[in-house]
């Protein structure tokens, strides 16, 4: 079977201000914090990209490992997360390098703004992942529900599993996402993950 890696650009997801402020360590908004939040929005306006590359793969689970078609892993936590799934989406998402540039600039000129941009970036990439999930759910020809996103570094799935995902999806060529020797992703506001797909009819039968 051939694996088709798709690439998709999304329009900007709507912003959850409370979530941004939470990431920035603010329980409630205040005048000064509000100014910073607005400045962060102004600086990022039109500068972020919302790209995802992804591939749907058949998976097999046995007592010893999970076979994701392109790689096998012994992770028990991932196994648990994928129970009942015949397929999974492997995906990588990024909001692009401009956010890193803006954060780096603010780090030199205004650490307060850097913290706010960092928080906004964290919220943006999560929002993109959520939007991607909505998209694949809508696109599916059968009724499905998705398992929680599971990323390398969660539980007992080693961070080094990133290498397998990067090689399989061709993240650098597809969406400009690269992995350095310390397994740090660049652009930094990026996510790679595995999402188990539950076909609802199958789930019912299993229950």
């Amino acid at each position: 079977m051939e694996f088709t890696v798709y690439k998709k650009s999304f329009s900007p997801p709507s912003i959850n201000k409370q979530e941004v402020l939470r990431y920035a360590g603010c329980k409630e908004t205040r005048e000064e914090v509000e100014l910073l939040f607005n400045e962060a929005l102004k600086q990022t306006e039109g500068k972020l990209t919302y790209s995802v590359c992804f591939c749907k793969v058949p998976i097999k689970i046995n007592d010893e490992y999970v076979d994701l078609s392109f790689a096998k892993t012994h992770s028990l936590h991932l196994t648990k997360c994928l129970v009942g799934c015949g397929y999974a989406y492997i995906f990588a998402a990024t909001i692009g390098l401009n956010m890193d540039r803006l954060i780096a600039k603010a780090t030199k000129t205004s650490p307060a703004l850097a913290v706010m941009l960092q928080a906004l970036g964290a919220e943006r990439i999560e929002a993109l992942c959520n939007k991607f999930e909505e998209y694949i759910t809508k696109q599916s020809s059968v009724d499905i529900s998705l398992k929680p996103r599971f990323s390398p570094g969660y539980g007992d799935l080693p961070l080094s599993f990133q290498k397998e995902i990067f090689s399989f999806l061709g993240c650098y060529k597809q969406i400009g996402l690269s992995l350095n020797d310390s397994l740090i992703m660049s652009p930094s506001k990026s996510v790679t993950a595995i999402i188990g797909i539950l076909e609802k009819t199958i789930t019912k039968k299993q229950i």
Partner: protein, 798 residues
Amino acid sequence: MKIKEYLKNNILYLDGGMGTILQKRGLLPGEEPERWNITHPEIIADIHKAYFDAGSNVVNTNTFGANLLKFSKTELEEIIKAAVNNAITAKETSTSKGEKFIALDIGPSGKLLKPYGDFEFEKAVELFAQTVKLGVKYGVDLIFIETMNDSLETKAALLAAKENSDLPVFVSNAYGEDGKLMTGASPEAMVALLEGMGADAIGANCSLGPKQLENVINKLLKYSSTPIILKPNAGLPKSVNGETVFDVDAEEFSILVAELTKKGVSVIGGCCGTTPDYIKALKNKTSGLSPLPITSKNFTLVSSYTNAVVFGQEPVLIGERINPTGKKRFKQALIENDIDYVLNEGVRQQEKGVHILDVNVGLPDIDEASMLKKTVFELQAIIDLPLQIDTSNHCAMEAALRIYNGKALINSVNGKEESMRTIFPLVKKYGGVVVALTLDDNGIPDSAEGRIVIAEKILKTAEEYGISKKDIIFDTLAMTVSAEQTAANTTLKALKYIKEVLGCHTSLGVSNISFGLPNRDAINGVFFALALENGLSAAIMNPYSADMMKTYYAFRALKGLDKNCENYIEQAENFVTTSQNISANSKNDKNFKSNLIQAIAKGLKEQAAEITKDLLTKKKGLDIINDDIIPALNIVGKGFEEKTVYLPQLLMSAESAKYAFEVIKQTSTVMTDTSRTNRPIVIATVEGDIHDIGKNIVKLLLENYGFAVTDLGKDIPPEKVLETATKLNATLVGLSALMTTTVPAMEKTISLIRENLPNCKVIVGGAVLNKEYAEKIGADKYAKDAMEAVRYAEEIML
């Protein structure tokens, strides 16, 4: 026939997809396609032959990822040798009668270059150089750099090709749906960079279908004077019955590409999803078409890693403030290696609206080459304006131009033989627009005519080096009008002639004109207006000067360059001085004992600086620190510890305090408690880790509290931390790590310090750490936040 000659009169047909065909022929996920050159030579030769038979003039060797990151030296040589042989076999057995060429295919390394990745620029050049040398050894006809999605990596590959072969080099980039490379470069910026360095054809491939690449191609055609390549995908992939198919078929593909060929594209082929059938269809659709002649586009372009600045359309402002001449504080920053100060100067000028930043870091006692290279690198990490590299040191100029991401403005060359002999080869090799000063061995001519003669000599010599007129900008030298009454008129006369008769762009260091006169800004502003009216294209100027900015915005409004005078109206309120704004806006809050305490506590940076300036006329710097700044920091610090103040607020206050300190620093060297300044703290993000926000927050707060902090930056090897801590006799070392993968580097750094500096304390922080883990790796202290780090520093330095 040589390929460049062939291209003059013919459309050059490239091949189509390779990887997507190999997948259909059994290449497994994760398997390296380049190995198939050795394991399946007949299949590779067969694919190449099918392309030649279909009408391709050029096939790319199956070496997209053939580099030393993926293969050993021995295997790489075997792969490239086999790859070239496979293409030669195809060429020899093809039934096509057309001209046939073999291109060494070079794709991206897969690693992002610094500053946002971890791959050194020179290592990338070396990586590509190895592949290029092997391609040349085994007899390719040209080098084809393709699918590059980062401008700096593209430059590294092109440089490697140029330095290691005399073969023609074609360069093609992968543009996204936004019409830019993944790292941000626009087509204009890529034209500037690639033409400047002498690529023989440039263009776009992969990523999208022909329809989506149309806008990119239009821009390339508009700005480029080089043949344009188009090698798109067969649209977008989709899965049908477990098989990958692309949504643009050969017929539609060939119609779309043929349309763009009629507009001027002359090097055409396909990328992912295309097959020999696509090339055949393309050949049919374009049969009988001759390539449009490649015309010389007269755009003077400089670029950064994202955008290009075009001279001649609007006045270009070149910010002059990154320069130590006459600036005590700037000199001090350079001597202390305080790069952040220099960067802030860049950011502030960008905020004022300049289009290019002049960068001059020349001081007698520093290693200018290394400082200039570092400054250019750091500026390009955070500022997307093109830079003007300003130095008379040839080695420094080359070091900076080599790593510069884009096409730089070069300051400067002049009419002296020696100057042209050293500068022009650099312009030719690295690309660039060069500022040419109209002086020579006899000095600066008194007359406009004398300066024009020198300009003509410079143009003639540049031509001998193969440098186009459009890449020379003349500076007719503004001389002091107080010393010579005709100085301004002479400069303007030469300027006008060069612009109108020689057809070149011009630049002036405007403020020289007023030297020795009172209220210099008034003279500068008017002279700037006169120069603009006489054809000045760019000014090297002080963007903090209200008079200069007034002239700029007023000129644009008067000349119809500012639609509805919008920019002028928007800027008009900024012409009021800052202090007027501050006094109008500040309201006194009785909760605070002084205005400065209030400004700092509320995080109002500009106000804090202005109030401090005012206070300095009434009391000493040290008194301001003790009476106002420290109490303000204590209020906020305490609030943060009690969780009534949030982190962003704490930082805004810290930044405001820093602004106040900076004002005091400019007037006085007496800073604060010497028991703190004499006991240095060294901080760093550990090797392999590139996260530095947390570390920078700690630095800011420690400095606020009067500690002398040396910040080594991020990704710092243990040896470097030890070396600095030893040299400075540091009392405390602060280390930060955000990844589990980089904590071992932290542990190694701590153990080196323990062995060599038993009295030095180590404090650590970062998301992956906690108290127990910190103890386990041998740290003296884990700080959960920056205030805790400050408290620990205070405790051990009592």
